[in-house]
Amino acid sequence: MKFGILVNEGPYQHQASDTALNFTKAALQKGHEIERVFFYHDGVNNGTRLTTPPQDDRNIVKQWTELAKEHDLDLVVCVAAAQRRGIVDPDEAKRHGKNADNIAEGFRISGLGQLVEMGIKSDRVMVFGD
C-alpha cells in the first residue's frame, strides 16, 4: 500500500516530526511504500542542515536524510511555506538574492501541487501536526 505523509510542524517544538518518522519507518518495515513525505507550514523547518541538537538527543533532520537515502524517499519542502520560514536551496537563494542556503541533504523544494499529487497517488494520507 502507498502512504503519503504530511508533516506540518518543525522538529523538536512538537512531536509531529517524531511520530511521522516512527510511522514512516514502521510502514517501510511492513513492506509498504512511501509515495512522498511533504513538509508544510512550520514542517519545512525539518529540512535545514544547520541544526546541531544536543549530543544526548536525537537529530531529527539527520534521521530524515538517512531514511531518505536508505529507502529512496521523496522528501518535499513546500516552496511557499519555505519562503516564509527561510528554508532555501541554492536555486531559491539565487532567485531571492540570498547569500546562503540551508537545505539539508535528501530534501528538495517544490510547489504545493506536490501535496495534492501525493493525495491523488497515495492510498492513504497521514497528517502529522499540532
Partner: protein
C-alpha cells in the same frame, strides 16, 4: 475510518469533536498527548468509556510509556498498539482523519 487524536483532552477540544463526528463503529487511535485520554479515574473517563461502546479505541504504546502511563492505569477496553499496529490500522481502514 481511522481517527487519530494527538491532543490532551484536558487542554484541547479535539477528542470531543472527534467523538461528536466519528461514525459509530470507527476506529479511534490516541497518540502523542492524546494518550492522556486513556487514564482511568480522570474527569474524561466517562466520555471515553462511552466511546469504547461505539468505537474501538486504541492507544499508542510508545507514547503511553514515554509519559509513564502503565497499562493497568488504562480505562477498560482500550487496546494498546505499537507503531506497526498504527500502520495496520491506517492500512485496514479506508481513510484516516487526524484530529489535531
Amino acid at each position: 475510518m481511522l481517527h487519530t487524536i494527538n491532543k490532551s483532552p484536558f487542554e484541547k477540544n479535539s477528542l470531543e469533536t472527534c467523538l461528536r463526528l466519528a461514525k459509530p463503529g470507527s476506529d479511534i487511535l490516541l497518540i502523542e498527548d492524546g494518550v492522556y485520554s486513556a487514564i482511568k479515574g480522570s474527569s474524561v473517563e466517562p466520555k471515553l468509556r462511552e466511546a469504547t461502546k461505539e468505537h474501538t479505541v486504541y492507544a499508542l504504546g510508545p507514547d503511553l510509556k514515554a509519559r509513564g502511563i502503565e497499562e493497568n492505569r488504562l480505562i477498560d477496553g482500550i487496546k494498546v498498539v505499537g507503531y506497526d499496529g498504527f500502520v495496520d490500522l491506517a492500512a485496514d481502514n479506508d481513510r484516516v482523519q487526524s484530529w489535531l
